[in-house]
């Protein structure tokens, strides 16, 4: 399959076939998940309706993190095997990952205000999400910093790979930093126990976000491929 899709037009055909179905399923899950999350799940006994932000916040955080890993994997395939689609996939993933990490930060902030009373806390998880966001920004900035547009692909891929290796180190050191400095008392320590009635909307929305992510990435890849086709037609005259 890896070699099979090395041919862009073959990939394009496959995407054209799959995409409409994926879209329908993704929006189905999204609608059902939102219904569960907003209408058909109990309010938290402490947090009230504010807890419903979690249904967006947590899946977005998962997607943001996993999309950086995916970015690193694509960069790896691009650098080692020069797989043409890997580069396009990486460039398609990065802005979406940045978007999801921004969404995580924004919803986290909105959630924090009613619960903690402040918009922002320098908590370990928030800080490492912020750093992840800057990793994405760095990737985007580097890949678009060159006058020849395709010139940025390789440096950016190297950066993504280094970022992927560094991500656990950053995460670990931020956690350590956070525990050594006295943690803010409003933060609760230990895991959060979630009632099963809240789990089903969470997982539905997680699947919905995942599908949505895949749909958008495929669409972006298709657009890039089509753009390149047009450009080469223009160049050939």
């Amino acid at each position: 399959m890896f070699d099979y899709f090395a041919n862009p037009s073959r990939f394009n055909r496959a995407v054209k076939l799959v995409l409409p179905w994926l879209e329908i399923i993704a929006f189905g899950f999204l609608g059902y998940g939102l219904y569960l999350a907003l209408l058909n799940s109990p309010a938290d006994y402490q947090q009230g309706d504010a807890v419903r932000i979690m249904y967006i916040h947590v899946p977005a955080a998962w997607i943001a993190l996993s999309s950086y890993l995916l970015l690193g994997i694509c960069a790896f395939f691009f650098l080692i095997w020069r797989h043409p689609l890997a580069e396009i996939a990486a460039s398609a993933i990065a802005p979406i990952g940045a978007g999801f990490s921004a969404l995580t930060l924004i919803t986290g902030s909105l959630w924090g205000k009613p619960i903690w009373g402040v918009w922002w806390v320098w908590d370990g998880r928030l800080t490492s999400m912020l750093v992840l966001f800057f990793f994405f920004i760095g990737y985007l900035a580097l890949s678009n910093a060159f006058d020849q547009s395709e010139r940025g692909a390789r440096p950016a891929a190297i950066l993504a790979l280094i970022g992927c290796i560094n991500l656990p180190i950053v995460k670990f050191s931020v956690d350590w930093w956070n525990t050594l400095h006295q943690p803010a008392s409003i933060m609760r320590s230990g895991g959060i126990a979630i009632d099963s009635s809240m789990l089903s909307p969470l997982f539905t929305l997680f699947i919905a976000f995942q599908l949505f992510f895949i749909v958008i990435v495929l669409m972006r890849m298709q657009t890039v491929l089509n753009n390149r086709k047009i450009e080469s037609h223009i160049l050939r005259g």
């Binding site: 650098l79 750093v131 800057f134 990793f135 920004i137 760095g138 900035a141 580097l142 910093a145 060159f146 006058d147 020849q148 010139r151 940025g152 390789r154 440096p155 950016a156 190297i158 950066l159 790979l161 280094i162 970022g163 290796i165 560094n166 180190i169 950053v170 670990f172 050191s173 931020v174 350590w176 930093w177 050594l180």
Partner: protein
């Protein structure tokens, strides 16, 4: 290989000596950034003492990050990097020599004036050795990160800012363990775990930086 490393290092050193004002202005920049803190935070000595080591680290980071962009860009523009690809030695050797020299000419002057800095912000001078050690380790890692970033941004627009954007998120672990070693000092705890962490990070970066710089430089040559 070691011989070639030494030749590159010597060349680098000769160039840096011919541009000694660059080293001095780098140092002045560091002191100026440090001076901003008492002015912004107020002259209260207790306050400064508390934030002292953090101030030194931030000043070192901020003054160095824009400088890294120049690590490879001069040689790139003058065509030296591509010519040295023909010396039958890997570009990693050139990059390593370059980074090492850059490290020496930025870290040494800073460590020399560090005692005075300590006096100015009220850090106990008897801690000089410990602070200098952690700073030396931290700056070594920073230089490697700077080398990676510098090799990646060759030929880019606004390379200096871009380099800083790439370096700073990656350098957080160094800053964290560097400052925590200072914190441990002021609380009379052993700073050895933090020093070992810094060392571990440095070693990780050495392993990562050499192939990354080599790939970055090679890519830059191909698109010259």
């Amino acid at each position: 290989m070691i011989l070639i490393f030494w030749y590159y290092f010597k060349r680098e050193f000769e160039i840096s000596i011919s541009q000694i004002t660059d080293i001095l202005s780098q140092l002045v920049f560091f002191i100026l950034i440090m001076m901003l803190f008492p002015i912004a935070l107020g002259p209260d000595p207790e306050n400064l003492k508390e934030f002292g080591i953090a101030i030194i680290w931030i000043a070192a980071f901020v003054s160095l990050t824009p400088a890294y962009d120049r690590l490879f860009s001069d040689d790139y523009i003058h065509g030296f990097i591509e010519k040295s690809a023909h010396n039958a030695q890997p570009l990693g050797c050139y990059a390593a020599a370059k980074c090492f020299c850059f490290y020496l000419i930025t870290a040494l002057p800073l460590l020399i004036i560090l005692p005075f800095i300590c006096l100015m912000i009220g850090i106990n001078i008897s801690f000089y050795g410990e602070i200098a050690l952690s700073l030396a380790l931290g700056m070594f890692g920073m230089t490697l990160l700077g080398g990676i970033a510098s090799s990646l941004v060759l030929g880019a627009r606004r390379a200096a800012i871009l380099g800083a954007v790439l370096i700073l998120p990656l350098s957080l672990p160094i800053l964290i363990f560097g400052c925590m070693s200072g914190l441990a000092l002021s609380e009379d705890l052993s700073m050895r775990p933090h020093i070992f962490m810094l060392l571990a990070i440095d070693l990780c970066l050495v392993v990562m930086a050499l192939p990354a710089m080599q790939a970055g430089l090679k890519n830059a040559i191909e698109n010259a």
